[in-house]
Structure formats: C-alpha cells, structure tokens
Amino acid sequence: MPKPFKPQIVTANDLLMGDVIYLTADGSWSRDHADALVAQTQDEADELLAQAAAQQLKVVGPYLAEAQIGTDGRPGPVHFREAFRTRGPSNYFHGKQAAGVEA
C-alpha cells in the first residue's frame, strides 16, 4: 500500500542572504511559513518542487517539507527542524525571530 500523502510545502534558502524562504501561491518567495502554498497531492508537490528548482537565481536547495494547517487555516511546520527554521537559533535573538516576518 502506498504511504498516505501528507500535505507539503516547498522551502529553500535565499541565494543572496542564505535565510529560509517558502514558495507561495503566485510563485514568489516569502519569509513567512504561513504564506507557503500547500501541495495536497504528490503530483502537486512534485510540480511545485520543479518550479522552485528552476529559480536558480533566487534560491538554493529547495526541498519538500511536511506541513499542517493551523487554526488560522494557514500552514505551519510539522517537524521540529522546520519549526526551528521558522524562528532562528535558541541562543540569540537572531534570524527570523529578530528580523520580524516580512513578505
């Protein structure tokens, strides 16, 4: 039996800045996980990843990560690694948590 599909988003690092970004519905990139477009089928996910991989001038290392829909109806991370990536390091107030979330 094939594994049941779990909703996924595409994430990567920004080429210039190196920080964490998410692919959105209009094909652009957001620094906010909640803006990520959620793929509901494997085909959709593959298609999104291919779209991201083509954006060589913008991103590095795009990959699919599992996401869950929160109470506000927007996607959040599932694995703790992805949760850390939405924030920044624990030891300093650096990274996303400090930058504030910008579109």
Binding site: M17, D19, Q56, F80
Partner: protein, 549 residues
Amino acid sequence: MYQYTDFDRDFVNARVEEFRGQVVRRLDGSLTEDEFKPLRLMNGLYLQLHAYMLRVAIPYGTLNSRQMHQLAYIAETWDKGYGHFTTRQNIQYNWPKLADVPEMLQALADVGMHAIQTSGNTIRNVTADHFAGAAADEIEDPRPTAELIRQWSTDHPEFQFLPRKFKIAVTGSPNDRAVTKAHDIGLRMVRNEAGEPGYEVIVGGGLGRTPMVGKVIRDFVPKAELLPYLEAIMQVYNLHGRRDNKYKARIKILVHEESLETMRERVDAVFARIKGDFEVPTEILTRIEGSFTAPAYKIAEIAPVVEPALQSFIDTNVAEHKNPDYGIVTISLKGIGETPGDATARQMRVMADLAERYSHDELRISHEQNVVLPHVHRGDLPAVFAALREAGLATANIGLVSDIIACPGMDYCALATARSIPVAQQISETFADLDAQRDIGPLKIKISGCINACGHHHVGHIGILGLDRAGVENYQITLGGDGTETATIGSRTGPGFAYDEIVPAVKRLIEAYLDLRESEEETFLQAYRRLGLDPFKSALYEQEKAHAA
C-alpha cells in the same frame, strides 16, 4: 610566529580574486548552484540552517593580536558581532551574506589568514596542542611540524579529492592536549634511545558514527623523514580508501578492515620508493623552526597573590609554563549560561589587546573552544585577571563541569538532528556555583548535535549525543570517554532522554559520583573506571522508573 612569504601572500590573494569572480558568476546565472557549491566549499563557505557560514582556519590554533583584531572587525562588519571558535581550531561566522564573502576573505588575507581547505575531502586545518611552545611538560614545540604539514598539504594537487576529509593533529607533550588518537593521523613528538627527536605516528583514529582510537603504525619516524612518510600514508589511503560508501571512506575503516599490518606494509613499500623525492631541505626546516623561537621572556617582580578570586582563577585557569616565572592563561569562553566557544567582537579585542600587552603578542584557540594567552609573566596575572573580569571573561571554570564542549547543533548546523547549545547552557546554569564545581572536580562534558561528533561526545567523561526520535529531540548519554593520551571511547548507558529530561539526568549522574567517590581526590573518570557503568546506570534509570511508577 610564522610569517607568510610573498609566495603565500600572492597565492591567497589570487584565491580571493578567483572566488570573487565565482560569486559574480553565480549571481548572474553563469554558474548553477551545482557548479558553484564545490567552489564555495573550497573556500570554507557552507549553507547552514538559517544562513551561510564561513569557516576560517586558525592553523594549529596560533594567532597574533593583529589577526584577532581582524577577526573582531570581520564579525562586526559582515556578521552579527560575534564568532564561534570550534573544536578544530577554526572560527565560524554564522551570518555572512553571499555577496560579502569575498570581502571577508580579503580581510583575512590581509592578515595572512584564509578559509582554504576548511571543507572538502582534503587535508583539513592541521591542529596542535594549544599550549605549544609554552607548556612545562613539552618535549618540543609541535608547531614547526604543524606548519610544515600545512605548507605541504595546502593545495597539494594529489590530495584535493581524497575518499573523505582528512584530519591531522600534532602534540609535543606526553600529556596529549590535541586528541591525537581521535584523528586520521596523530603525531606525537618523541625522542629515540639516542635522544634524537622524531615522531610516533598514530593512524586511523576518528569520531563520527564509527568512533575509533588510532593505532601506532610506526613508533619512530625521524624528523627529516616525516613528510615522505605522511605522503606514503596519504597515497595508500587515496588508492585503497573506500569510495563506494561515504560512511566507510575514512582511513579508520581502511585500517580496521584491512588490518594495521597490511596498512604498514603498503605504507612502508611506498615510503621506500618515494623517500628520496620528498626529503625536505634542512634550510627550510630551520627557517620554519626559526619562526617559532621562544619570546624574549622578561624578568620582573612577582608580588604574592592576596586576592582570593585571583587565587581561584590561577588555580583553575593558569597552567605551568616552561619558564617558572610565567604562566599559561586559559580564557574561558564558557561563562555561565553562555554559548560554548562564542566570543563577541569586543571580547576578541580585549583578548587581542591583552595578548599584545602581556603575552608576547600571541594567542591560541584550544580544541576545547577556549582562548589561551600562552606567555603571561606571573607578575602580570593580577592585571590580566582584572581586565578579563571587566570584559566578562574571567570565569574560573577550566576543566570543570561548566567548561563544556558543544557543537553548534540544530541551532545552526544543517546536518544536526537535535540542539546542543541550549543543553550546554542549562547544564552550566545548573552548576553555576564555582565552589560547587570545584568540589565536583575535573569533569569533561561534551555534546554533539548529531553522530558526526564535532562536539567530541565519544571522548567526553560524560558524552551527550542529540538525536531525532520520531520527530522529537532525544539525547543519548555515553560515559567514560577520554580524549587524552589514555584515549577511550565512552560506553552508551541505554535509552536516550527527552530534551527536558537530559539536564536532570546529567545532574543525577554527578550526584551519584559525589556519593560514590572514595575521596574528594577521586575524579569522575577515576570513579567510573573503578566502578564501571552499573552504578551510574542505576542513577540514570532507577529514578526514571520511580518517576514513571
């Protein structure tokens, strides 16, 4: 200290220009990421969890105050005002932007530093005893040897694409402060029966997923034959090392799978063939040795120490110097609750200034993530201590429970499976009281955020390995590891602990030790070696059960 020659300077500057061009081409799309990645890694530029990371080599951990000032300048100008000193005598900057990296590399080149071979399957930064040239117990200064190896290995065309990365460490003291037995090659300076200097060569040590203590492949290699002998080992490894499986590619696996004897025979055969071609002219050796001569020690008054805080600092942080009027000061980068190995730009400047004024312009980075002022006149200790205290750098905890090695873990590292830093911070806060720490005595806690073991957990008296268990951080404990001349790989105690259980578990271990020790003189490691795993295991897990019940 060793000074770059014109050739070195031109070479490093040319590399910066080359990389500048590569960045431009990546940004305008002429290079794909797949093409660019190996090029950036050749210049120490990684992409980590939240940002790029630039890893800069500090060869054998030695630098002068001008170089330390430049590291501070780089931290402030292109990073977030701090740097992270690592267990391989590197400094890592955690937040550079891609477009700034050529400028950072140029700033390094300006003071004779670089990031070449800090990544990739090549011979990495050569490390050495951080007390080199100063320690009272030293047979000889290991740094000329490390420098010779650096010159031979940097851009060595044959060894840029080894089966895997390759690490060499050198010690000149019988007391091993360079973890030589956990390196691909460890060199111990020794004298033979005739009193001639040479090396004991250890091969096949390493940490990572298959930790191993290195084995002695030759008990004496005369100085003049070192490079051809190393060249022979490298050729054998390059040819026979496994390339089919990344996890079996280190030389330790080759030695383990094919036996030390086979390895020795092959190395000897190559050595016999190439020996003549690789002899290093004496004038080169003499020139290198000449740049590591002892500083002009001064003669001055030494007032008796009256201040108890200074006395405690001297007891824990100052080691015996070969000149009895001098001491070796270790500056702790492990203030209570701080991130092990981090220093702010301001702290770097304080340390640089102290080195210039009181340590004959020299600093060292230790593999334990601390900074060393190697030559401080004992009469200057009060002034040094006062300045360190002022900068928040006077924590008197060297070798104690809060002097923890912790790798960056999942707070920075893309390979991590769990965090290391907050665990270290919490342990240090749990044992904040320095008197209590002194009562516990010498204890090395080492934490890694994944099986790569950058935090040396396998050789920690208490080792902590962060893992991912079904999407949750989990921490496994090993006990009895030792990274010195009596190197031992620690033993696993049993199931791991959750993030909020790991610090209480460490606390139970230490309380058990305090109950079990024969006397206040018996260290944690001695008690463990006398009693074995069981009583510590009970302390770890019995209470767990009681909790659950």
